[in-house]
């Protein structure tokens, strides 16, 4: 009896700790934002939907249990065409994409971090640009470059200037999808791998060298194992992101009847076949889940030292010698082609009054600042004086800032909880559950939130049509990034720093505000910026959720692309990219002046 009492008191004591309460609170929130949608995903595959009423030969009662969708998706001609073949295509494209992401990312990282390459700062700045471009930009540029008459298309630049007609497999299908997605997502790899390379003390390598190890042996036995966690993280992110991407395979796969799971999901969801579409989403989820599991098995033991950072390690740079300039020039040319050319092209196109005419006399600012003229884009005024565009731009900025801040803050708090009780079940649960949204394709995540928040459920009001829903879905979807940065930055803050404040009588909030937050500000800002960039150029996540009253730039731009306003939508894409760059730059500038001295700087 007494033992029970003591236990109860111990429990009560634990519950007095803010981290326990926080952990519980976050678990509840995450269960609602992540687990309930997942449950709803599974449920949808097992009941009849409203669109199914047109199916003949089945007793369709909307909302009633059925295994029809699963039966259709698992065997027969339909399954073969809609599931198995696209699955194979998805696996091929994903593997290729990840290979490119790893190859380009690690090569660039190596050049910038470990060699004395010229103009390293410029290369570093250019290397991250593709990530801030909306995903459709690279694939459209690809077509501009390679399309030609053999695929019954207008002449692209290659054909126009050289007369060479690229074969169909280079214009459409898996090869261009892999290349453009790889070039879009390699900045992930670049950032992660260069981070890992920076943390290697070259003394580790030098000591091996002194012991007579060959270069390749050092690479294999010393360097690779140390950056292995970063490589695996890159691969995992690459898998999760590229499998769920819809834009690229839609533009470069569809014309050649090359379908992937993401395009099939989009088609099925758009044609009121959620039940079947979500089964494919579950498959994507399962594949990413396996990736995550393997990833954790491989790197969990190494995690402890994978996250160190900030210490000035000695790094000896490899001398490129006479090859330095040629390599640097090649690298910069490559980056210009991937990062800058599409942007320049878009800008130029947005300045041409009549499509396809690139002569000087045709240059005009009409699509930027022109007044309404019914001859062009059905009388839409230029984007800078267009209410709809400016409204959407403001919404985008607001959403990115609010979403980014909430996400960054939540990530830090979850990081705090996880770091304070590394081994507790709640911590591990929190970490794992918060990672799940990364594995769910954006389009499916959006669709789930639509069903989940379309009607009032218990205390949660119907949020569809509100700005709050966009914020919510942004936070839930992007949380994996900030939780990761939150956990690692919290782990870097010694517990004693907080305990000293405990002793001096600081309340939990005071500690958070005065000690923990200032010390983890870098991680917070980094996480927020990633969320900011990602959400500003995110399309599939919002496309089902926006209502006319709260559109964002990407959905509006996509709409104008759909109706064929090329120059107008290109102007919007440029505007969007500019907004991302300016916001990111502003945050970086502000964050540096504020925190530099505070952390002792050197």
């Amino acid at each position: 009896m007494n033992g029970l009492k003591v236990r109860f008191r111990k429990l009560a004591n634990r519950w007095r700790k803010p981290e326990t309460i926080l952990a519980a609170l976050f678990l509840v929130i995450l269960v609602y934002l992540v687990v309930v949608p997942l449950f709803s995903l599974v449920q949808t595959t097992l009941v009849w939907g409203t669109g199914d009423t047109r199916i003949r030969g089945e007793n369709v009662v909307v909302g009633k249990f059925t295994t029809y969708h699963w039966r259709r998706m698992l065997s027969g001609d339909f399954a073969e065409a809609v599931f198995y073949k696209p699955l194979l295509n998805t696996l091929i494209v994903t593997a290729g994409t990840v290979a490119i992401v790893l190859a380009v990312g690690s090569l660039l990282a190596y050049l910038v971090v470990r060699t004395d390459i010229r103009w390293a700062k410029l290369i570093n700045a250019l290397a991250t640009v593709p990530y801030i471009l909306p995903s459709w930009v690279l694939s459209l540029s690809w077509l501009q470059l390679f399309q030609n008459s053999t695929v019954a298309m207008p002449e692209g630049l290659l054909s126009y200037y050289t007369g060479i007609n690229a074969p169909e497999w280079l214009v459409y299908g898996p090869i261009p999808i892999m290349i453009t997605m790889g070039l879009h997502y390699y900045p992930f790899g670049y950032l992660l791998i260069s981070g890992a390379l920076r943390s290697i003390d070259s003394q580790l390598e030098e000591s091996a060298e002194i012991l007579g190890a060959s270069k390749s042996y050092i690479m294999r036995r010393i360097t690779m194992p140390i950056i292995k966690p970063a490589l695996f993280s890159t691969a995992l992110l690459g898998i999760a992101r590229s499998m769920g991407t819809f834009g690229t395979p839609a533009i470069l796969g569809l014309p050649a009847r090359y379908y992937t799971l993401s395009t099939q999901i989009y088609s099925l969801v758009r044609t009121q076949r959620q039940g079947q579409g979500y089964i494919l989403a579950l498959v994507l989820l399962a594949i990413s889940g396996i990736g995550l599991y393997v990833n954790q098995r491989v790197i969990s033991a190494r995690r402890s030292y994978a996250t160190i950072g900030g210490k000035g390690v000695k790094s000896r740079k490899v001398r490129l010698g006479k090859w330095n300039t040629p390599i640097a020039v090649l690298t910069i040319l490559f980056l210009l082609a991937v990062a800058v050319f599409p942007l320049v092209f878009l800008t130029w196109s947005s300045l041409t009054l009549y499509a396809g005419d690139y002569s000087i006399s045709n240059l005009s600012l009409h699509y930027w600042i022109g007044e309404s003229n019914p001859r062009f884009v059905a009388g839409e005024p230029g984007i800078l004086r267009n209410e709809a565009v400016m409204g959407a731009a403001w919404n985008t900025v607001k959403l990115a800032l609010v979403g980014g801040l909430i996400c960054g803050f939540a990530g830090l708090l979850i990081g705090y909880v996880v770091a304070r009780a590394r081994r507790a079940l709640t911590s591990r649960l929190l970490e794992q559950v918060s990672f799940v949204p990364m594995l769910v394709p954006s389009i499916v995540f959006g669709a789930l939130y639509l069903t989940l928040f379309a009607v009032r459920r218990g205390p949660v009001p119907a949020l569809y049509g509100t700005f709050a829903l966009l914020v919510l879905v942004t936070v839930a979807k992007q949380l994996p990034y900030t939780v990761r940065s939150g956990v690692s930055s919290m782990l870097q803050v010694a517990q004693e720093l907080e305990e000293a404040a405990v002793i001096l009588g600081a309340s939990w909030f005071a500690r958070l505000r005065k000690i923990m937050l200032p010390l983890t500000k870098n991680g917070f800002v980094a996480g927020t910026v990633i969320v900011l960039i990602t959400s500003m150029r995110e399309l599939s996540l919002y496309i089902l959720l926006v209502t006319p009253a709260n559109r964002v730039l990407t959905t509006l731009t996509y709409r104008y692309i759909e109706v064929g306003y090329t120059q107008f939508s290109n102007a919007m894409t440029v505007l969007l990219t500019l907004l991302v760059v300016v916001l990111t730059y502003a945050i970086n500038a502000w964050q540096k002046t504020d925190i530099g001295a505070g952390l002792g700087g050197r």
């Binding site: 004693e496 720093l497 600081a506 010390l519 952390l599 002792g600």
Partner: protein
């Protein structure tokens, strides 16, 4: 008057007891050191006093007030226990200036700006850091950082100050200086100090009381002299010797001690055991050139000069021992010598339990 009273406190993690049924009284104004090897539970004990860990069992009183009781469900938060703590890493907040670090506790007490200014300035003067108030911790030397950590805690005038190996990150010279200044601070403020260290020399030089801990249990709690001269167990004797304490097993035959095949000295008392372990510090034996009834034969292995004295490493039979000799003493390797114990400095232990036995020994 007792400042800290621990009654039967225990703490464990996943079945391993870090602190096992520990009871301890620390008087007002004492400077008590918790001494032991790493993993002995000393830091855990300190953190439980501070309230940073919750014991699984037992009670803690501070200034006569019950601040923790597992059975009564009492657990007073750290800030209300009236104590300060200095961490091994100093735990200075890198994003705050020295002034802000020191002022933090006063700000939490919502003192007026003038009061804060006044008290921080005074305490910084006390620790000789005036002029550095607006530096950041990363701009200070290790010793200065350590003094900031002290200042941060004494500025709120706690009646109890907890220190967790505060000097272990300093180099030898600085450590000695800081010992002196901590000791002086203790005397001036008359604060009760609980001090954790694994350095026996630090414990011996600074404390008014030493609690030697081993595997979560208290081995001995006594004054430094007592701990040094009459270690309660072989463990304590071993842990407090510098450079080490010599142990020699002896048979007891009719009130005589027999080491090897040589009878030496007498042991007095009732119900004498058959065998004992004798301990003597390096300075408790003198080196003789000739054999007498009160000597043991030994061979010299090596000689080390350590400033004021010479350490002679010898073999007594197959036992290795260290003897402290006067500076200037010269010995060759393998030289035969004889050792004469100073019986007043010899302690007797049970070879089985390792506890000290209360028998008197003499020549």
């Amino acid at each position: 008057m007792v400042t800290v009273r621990l009654v039967g406190i225990s703490k464990g993690w996943s079945g391993v007891k870090a602190v096992d049924n520990l009871s301890l009284d620390i008087g007002k104004g004492d400077f008590v050191t918790l001494l032991g090897p790493s993993g002995c539970g000393k830091t855990t004990t300190l953190r439980m006093i501070a309230g940073l860990e919750d014991p699984d069992d037992g009670e803690i009183y501070i200034h006569g007030k019950l601040v923790f009781s597992a059975s009564k469900g009492i657990n007073v938060p750290p800030a209300q226990r009236g104590l300060g703590m200095i961490f091994q890493s100093y735990a200075l907040w890198p994003h705050m200036t020295v002034f802000d670090n020191v002022a933090f506790g006063l700000v939490q007490q919502k003192l007026s700006k003038d009061q804060i200014n006044q008290r921080v300035t005074r305490v910084l003067a006390d620790v000789e850091l005036e002029g550095l108030a607006h530096r950041y911790p990363s701009e200070l030397s290790g010793g200065q950082q350590q003094r900031v950590a002290v200042a941060r805690m004494i500025v709120v005038s706690p009646e109890l100050l907890l220190m967790d190996e505060p000097l272990s990150n300093l180099d030898t010279r600085l450590r000695m200086q800081m010992r002196a200044s901590l000791k002086r601070m203790h005397q001036e403020t008359n604060t009760t100090v609980v001090y954790v260290t694994h350095d026996q020399e630090e414990a011996l030089t600074m404390s008014t009381g030493i609690a030697v801990m081993n595997k979560g249990k208290l081995e001995q709690y006594a004054s430094p002299e007592e701990v040094y001269e009459r270690p309660a167990s072989k463990f304590v004797a071993e842990f407090t010797g510098n450079p080490q304490t010599n142990f020699i097993d002896a048979e007891v035959v009719d009130g005589r001690l027999k080491i090897g095949d040589r009878f030496i000295g007498h042991i007095d008392g009732d119900a004498l055991p058959n065998a004992v372990t004798l301990s003597f510090r390096p300075e408790a034996m003198s080196i003789r050139q000739e054999s007498t009834p009160n000597t043991l034969p030994a061979t010299v292995y090596a000689t080390l000069l350590v400033g004021a004295s010479v350490l002679v490493y010898v073999h007594i039979g197959n036992i290795e021992a260290v003897i402290r000799a006067e500076r200037g003493s010269k010995f060759r390797g393998n030289q035969e010598i004889w050792l004469e114990p100073d019986w007043t400095q010899v302690n007797v232990y049970s070879p089985t339990t390792g506890r000290r036995l209360d028998y008197a020994v003499r020549g």
